[in-house]
Symmetry: C2
Subunit: 342 residues, 2 copies
């Protein structure tokens, strides 16, 4: 069982939701742990639009009822919410002095440094593995570059070491839909900007899947009567319920992600990848429109100990997070299990 | 030289921009001709967001300065604006009684029937070819199904015989951005809805290209200093200058396109394709996100006389319209030239 949600701050006094902030740069991580600290530690951060609850649960809980122990059964699992992800420090939950439009432009580096401090506070000297999906995979690469001695293995599920130009460009779409929406009011909305966030969800949705997914009408396998019902229930309504600034905060963090900022030679992507000491398992989805396998292949070339395993799925980006077919998810579980045993 | 723009209406008195409409369903096509009516006739319709000026000019004008005669030099070329495309009848130019929100939901069929009537009025008994890019390709398939005896050859450049579910879904993105925008006012805008149409352009842009295109920074080959400059100049500003209802009118026409509505067995896509008598040349772009080659391959299987030639380009959807590399466009020209000579 996961512990209840706890908080860790870079300030002595965690101030999330407090009446008075201790400083305008205080940042707090929401996290949960599973298992005991004497076991090998594994950190798993949340992804874009993800919460602690839905961060790769298939790796630490038995979801398939086959009675097999979870892949991470004998590990101390630390699940951490991403900054701006609504559970850790975010525009929506920060003190008014740094909430909404005032929230600082946090980075992937901010997340990783805070996660490192959290681990040390929990008594973790070294991570046996850092496993991330999507923006979680981006964080995994950054952990490998920023703290090369701190992590033994990184697993990148449908992620990348930087935002590609294609990423940056497509993300401009949902962003434009949101910031130009009728109820965003230049970011000074008082009521939730629902028209904006729902439009955001509608723009974002198709990118997460693949043309093959739509060709096969896979919404039917999820029990939806129509594509429209699927888009509304799974996308427009879910992302549509988020706070607009939280969505934009995560988005700018994604767009500005790049390990080459942190490597031995500033701006040298290849050198940054080469500086990673951890063994890496890189698992793109064949049909991912965010992080196509071609980008992963290029990245793996420059890793000291990188292994590529492509998830052969039509579930696009989603396959990497365990939302693809049962076979896709079993493939990930088996690969991660084998990788941890190496 | 192309003739000046002329108009053709399904009513005896063309009424475009007239003070009084002759009926609320009067529809007018804007068109131009090149060559004389005694030559074999070729019809080319405009595409989504296209104008007469930019409809496959590389097929009838010599753009490469190599002195070679244009592919369609010895043809009577009829270039026709699509309904809702701002030159033919559109929400933006219709009489107030059928303008804006009042504009009827026109279909691909409406275009094709009106084009057929235009041809007959021009003395064309049969088209030697119907060549269309993108939504122009959709129209080409429809002409082949609705008037099987009227057209000898159809050329589909990065097009399809119907809107795929993936098409329908991704188009919901720019639509959502536009209709929820601050200045759309539920469609009752008085000033142009620029925030909405520019957001539309921003959402739409990335779909038209490919991840490989961005990986190679191809905006540099177009002379832009940055991706941002490219997105602004080529997309946000261009589509952003359109009328919102014109954009939405073309969009609903695309989303509702399906030849199976018009085939021998209503709803039978394969039967509809099989009813096409024309020889068909189907040229998808390898990296097209709108109309992927997989869909074209499936369609060609069911054509009586269908030939597939894939444009091996990283320029995504755009390659099919002549906006890819010089090699891409030469490949199209050669293929069309050979096909017309068969």
């Amino acid at each position: 069982m996961a512990s209840s949600t706890k908080y860790f701050s870079n300030e002595p006094q965690p101030n999330l939701n407090a009446d008075e902030p201790s400083s305008t740069t205080a940042l707090t991580l929401a996290y949960r742990t599973v298992g005991t600290p004497d076991l090998p530690a594994v950190l798993m951060p949340s992804c874009y639009g993800g919460k602690l609850d839905d961060t790769l649960p298939f790796l630490y809980t038995s979801v398939d009822n086959r009675g097999a122990p979870a892949v991470l059964a004998n590990h101390f699992v630390i699940v951490v919410g991403m900054l701006s992800g609504s559970e850790s420090s975010s525009p929506s939950n920060a003190h008014v002095s740094m909430g909404g439009l005032n929230f600082p432009k946090v980075t992937i580096e901010d997340n990783v440094r805070l996660q490192h401090a959290l681990c040390r506070a929990l008594g973790v000297e070294k991570l046996a593995a850092y496993i991330g999906f999507s923006m979680g995979g981006i964080q995994a690469y950054h952990m490998g570059v920023i703290y090369p001695d701190f992590v033994e293995r990184i697993v990148i599920l449908a992620g990348a070491a930087r935002a590609s130009w294609h990423n940056i460009s497509f993300l401009e779409g949902p962003k434009a839909a949101l910031v130009n929406s009728e109820d965003f009011h230049g970011g000074r909305y008082v009521e939730p900007a629902r028209m904006g966030t729902q439009a955001f969800g509608r723009v974002y949705s198709t990118w997460a899947l693949s043309s093959a997914w739509f060709r096969e009408k896979n919404w039917e396998k999820l029990g939806f009567n129509s594509m429209w019902e699927y888009l509304e229930e799974e996308w427009e309504r879910s992302l549509g319920s988020w706070d607009a600034h939280d969505l934009l905060g995560m988005l700018q963090m994604w767009q500005s992600a790049d390990v080459s900022i942190h490597g031995p030679v500033k701006g040298d992507f290849v050198a940054a990848l080469g500086s990673i000491q951890a063994k890496a398992l890189v698992m793109p989805s064949r049909t991912d429109s965010y992080f196509p396998p071609e980008d992963s292949m290029e990245e793996v070339k420059h890793l000291k100990q990188g292994k590529l395993k492509i998830i052969e799925s039509v579930w696009g980006h989603l396959a990497g997070g365990g939302a693809g077919t049962r076979e896709d998810t079993e493939f990930i579980k088996d690969a991660v299990e084998g990788f941890l045993a190496e």
